[in-house]
């Protein structure tokens, strides 16, 4: 496996984990502020441990027992589904056809939901609701990261590197979260999602081709060419859809204010 594909692998996993962990951290901070920091952090840590166990339990047998070409086709198909869906969403958001993900609104909504007026809990006490909400937030957001780590890691026999990149992203996001508390809306989530979508789509198509026996020119370097191609297609799509919006007589722009998107 060449250096270029390892770099793209690390970037893809790091980016995907960053996006998902920002979403998870918003929920963890909201649960911490509104209920109990101790329970919220315990819930988040437990979910992270469960996700790590899933990577080991699913990823290691995949590498050892599934024929590599079969694995590449299945993994490639899964990455294509995920990559195309992220790219589509990012294109629609960037062209003003879909509301941008609003972490501040999610924070406010989660906090309001959790903070009952008559509540008598203390921030340092154990609280089942705070634990449950933080666990669910980290676990659900983390499942897509697990899927990407296992898929990319297993198909390239780089499970350790992929898991390390995801872990590093989780630490970076947690550190940023600790510093800026709830101001996670500053993270350019749609841009990261767009970049990761391009990389996942490129990897997915590459593995589907490799797994079925196609020989990409330049071998692993073809991934970089595919990244360039999908970047061009994405930029073109955004410009095209912005144009469609302006011909509808609607303002163009990066955001649609109403609504909060998942």
């Amino acid at each position: 496996m060449s250096t270029s594909s390892t770099v793209v692998l690390i970037l893809a996993v790091f980016g995907a984990a960053t996006v998902e962990m920002v979403e998870a951290l918003t929920i963890v901070v909201a649960a911490g502020v509104s209920r109990s920091w101790r329970s919220s952090l315990e819930g988040a840590a437990t979910a992270a441990a469960v996700l790590a166990i899933i990577v080991l339990v699913v990823g290691v047998p995949l590498i050892h027992y599934v024929p590599i070409n079969t694995l590449r086709v299945i993994v490639g198909a899964l990455l294509l589904v995920l990559g195309l869906s992220w790219l589509r969403k990012s294109i629609l958001r960037a062209s003003g056809h879909k509301a941008l993900h609003d972490e501040d609104a999610i924070f406010a909504a989660t906090s309001a939901e959790l903070a009952a007026p008559e509540s008598s809990f203390s921030p340092s006490r154990r609280d089942a609701v705070g634990f449950g909400v933080a666990f669910k937030g980290v676990f659900l957001e983390g499942m897509e990261v697990v899927l990407i780590v296992v898929s990319l890691g297993a198909s390239q026999h780089r499970l350790g590197i992929a898991a390390g990149a995801a872990g590093a992203a989780a630490l970076v996001v947690a550190a940023i979260g600790a510093l800026v508390a709830k101001q996670l809306s500053q993270v350019p989530e749609n841009t990261i999602k767009l970049g990761v979508g391009i990389m996942l789509t490129s990897f997915g198509l590459f593995w589907v081709g490799e797994g079925t026996g196609a020989h990409w020119p330049g071998s692993d370097a073809a991934i970089i060419v595919l990244v360039g191609l999908f970047l061009l297609v994405t930029m073109g799509s955004i410009a095209w859809l912005r144009g469609l919006r302006s011909t509808d007589g609607r303002p163009t722009g990066a955001s649609v204010p109403e609504g909060v998107e998942e």
């Binding site: 086709v73 490639g76 198909a77 294509l80 589904v81 995920l82 195309l84 869906s85 790219l87 589509r88 969403k89 294109i91 629609l92 062209s95 003003g96 056809h97 879909k98 499942m143 897509e144 899927l147 789509t201 198509l205 589907v208 081709g209 797994g211 079925t212 026996g213 196609a214 020989h215 990409w216 020119p217 073809a222 595919l226 191609l229 999908f230 297609v233 994405t234 799509s237 095209w240 859809l241 469609l244 919006r245 509808d248 609607r250 649609v256």
Partner: protein, 76 residues
């Protein structure tokens, strides 16, 4: 028993949402791409040109389908 069935249901829902969700056309697109890749496994040149072009076209079509029209919320 209840916990197991709830877990199985949640697992099924996760995969349904992941693979189909509100963009079933992307799942169909990927099935077509994989099928074509298998059919073209002995025609490398055609495969390496056709597969990326087709993927790009499917993406464009799906994004076009999801655009906001006449004030209505987009699909997906």
């Amino acid at each position: 028993m209840k916990t197991i069935s709830r877990g199985v249901r949640a697992f099924g829902l996760f995969w349904w949402d992941f693979l189909v969700g509100d963009t079933p056309e992307l799942l169909v697109a990927v099935i077509v791409i994989v099928a074509l890749a298998i059919l073209l496994r002995h025609h490398h040149v055609i495969a390496i040109i056709l597969l990326p072009v087709l993927t790009a076209l499917f993406l464009l079509a799906s994004a076009f389908r999801g655009r906001r029209r006449d004030g209505r919320e987009p699909k997906g």
